[in-house]
Symmetry: C2
Subunit: 324 residues, 2 copies
DNA sequence: CATCGACATAAGCGAAGGGTTATGAGGCCA
DNA sequence: TGGCCTCATAACCCTTCGCTTATGTCGATG
């Protein structure tokens, strides 16, 4: 039983396919088969069996899969900890959902850098799903934004830190906004809906709301919600915007270029969560950040519209070197 | 970085000696050196340096040592879980201090077997120190009896479940017991002190008490406290006996063949603790047993003097196959 | 100064590990 | 029935692991 074999098995178990795992790992299919065969021989368990539709894990396979991620993750963590031990530049790997990354990450990490000793944390922000697994295999130290799927949250420490609202907005000049009266959803679905990267992520409240719709509008994904708001302001469609972000632009009397559309079941309230591994398994900086985001100071920073150093995009992932 | 290398490094880190680790692992010293050299090259850290007196870990070495036990322990746990998955005979490995094993384990596990589904747990009881490490490396699922050393208890879940008292007793016919008045410690130290296996374990309250004595008596370790009590009853010396165990034999009026010696700072009160890994890391049966020992039912079983299936000694370790 | 103890290094060896290409074995589907 | 997809196996390669014995280095100690 080697770490490499466990890594391979974990991939097979997750993808439910030997061929798929081989592709994901960038090796030939027999290479994966061989690793599995080796584990099978050593552990005396088939681990999984072939079925008409792909493969299914045996009880032993499930038991191994439950540990495999953790073991390889710990090995990675050990490697990193050794590399960073002694030097003061710890690295904190943050997994953030797109909305948080765009609207709050810059200010939060700016502030966090003043909260903790400077020169102590390096933050990498990346958007992804399957939060629980990524935390468990130590690919990230903390997840900010969406809540992990209920079923997968065992062994995790979840803390809500911000309540956001999403409201449907359109340009003040948009036909739909003409009447001050409520608009029916059906009419709205004829207009294009703008969204940030990722569209409506299913783990978010708005994602679930959207998933419940019977008919779907045309969705236009832009590279940021800021761009989406701009498009909406130009009269090109509607969007579910973050309430506190567009509040200054909402028309009250005669100011503001956007109007809120009063549709049933809006505004949509959701929570941003800070998720880490539980108890002694989360690295200390992650716990510190988790505590920090729940402070009044952090909340104030999120809602404030004042300047923040944004996140710079770099090679597909956001990377903010706070004290490089 | 292989599991074998981590195992080797963990041993070196724990023993503080390459040669010692080689002996412990049953291999030659260069074999250990080579494993370390491999880790050093891969991780880019010396891990430890030579000092006049043995070796000392570098910061990186400490970081690795903190993970190594856990990783190899998890790998072992995975191996076991796969082996036992599907079949109903889980195995619960219990680490018990000698006193608990002798006086309570039999009845506790008897009862526990009725509490949980029969045919579901197999218990191995073994006496040892360094509780925290043994739990962390998954050599045992739960420790019953002494409390782990304070410093090492991070990441552990400690629950006290029984308050015991130790009293100094002697035969009713012993010269020291002649006067009903308090006896001075100095006089007692001239008599031989009987004890169970292990003598006075330093992690227990009586061990600490004993460690504070300025002069030490002659200590006679017998294979069980029951034997020790018998020797004391025969007038051969004194002992620190468990209060609830000898209570029926203590002379009140004219019954009983033992008398309590009223010495300052006695009786000594101590706690038995049930210790597991915290949060999601402890196997479920271990948590169940941990909860069980705190029940009134379990406490009653410990103090009751009625029959229990004792633990059978087998090859140096206690082994009780409850439902073999 | 010589020696001894403890770690590091060298050389060498068998056994796995991890990879490839080629081929076999089964179940699904047109 | 004949592809076709997927997993399993065979044959073969090279590298690494893990172990040995022999020797080197270095500091403490008599």
């Amino acid at each position: 039983m080697t770490l490499s074999q466990l890594r391979t098995f974990a991939r097979v178990a997750k993808l439910g396919s030997v061929t798929g795992a081989a592709r994901a790992l960038g090796v030939s299919e027999p290479a994966v088969s061989a690793a599995i065969a080796s584990l099978r021989a050593e552990l005396g368990d088939r681990l999984f069996t072939r079925t008409p539709t792909g493969i299914t894990l045996t009880p032993g396979g499930r038991a191994l899969a439950a540990h495999a991620d953790e073991i390889v993750g710990l090995a990675e963590a050990a490697r990193r900890d050794v590399a960073h031990a002694g030097s003061s530049d710890a690295e904190l790997r943050v997994l953030a959902t797109a909305a948080f990354a765009e609207h709050a990450a810059g200010r939060i990490f700016d502030l966090f850098g003043k909260w903790v000793a400077p020169d102590s944390v390096d933050v990498i922000v990346e958007s992804a799903d399957d939060i629980a697994t990524l935390l468990r295999e130590r690919a990230y130290d903390i997840a900010l934004g969406a809540r992990p799927a209920m079923a997968a949250s065992a062994g995790l420490e979840l803390v809500p830190f911000f309540k956001y609202q999403r409201v449907l907005v359109a340009s003040a000049r948009h036909p739909l906004a003409a009447a001050g009266a409520p608009v029916t959803l059906d009419r709205l679905l004829t207009a294009p809906w703008f969204a940030g990267p990722g569209g409506f992520e299913p783990l978010t409240e708005e994602g679930r709301w959207f998933g419940r719709l019977t008919a779907l509008p045309e969705i236009v994904e832009l590279t940021s919600e800021t761009d989406a708001v701009a498009a909406v302001a130009a009269g090109e469609g509607v969007m579910l915007a973050l309430g506190h972000a567009v509040a200054p632009r909402l028309r009250t009397d005669d100011s503001g270029d956007l109007v809120r559309l009063h549709v049933a079941q809006t505004p949509i309230s959701g929570l941003w969560w800070a998720t880490t591994l539980d108890a002694g398994r989360a690295p200390e900086p992650a716990r510190t950040l988790q505590r920090f985001v729940t402070t009044a100071e952090a909340t104030a920073a999120i809602v404030s519209a004042t300047g923040s150093r944004g996140l710079s995009r770099r090679g597909g992932k956001f990377h903010v070197a706070l004290w490089s």
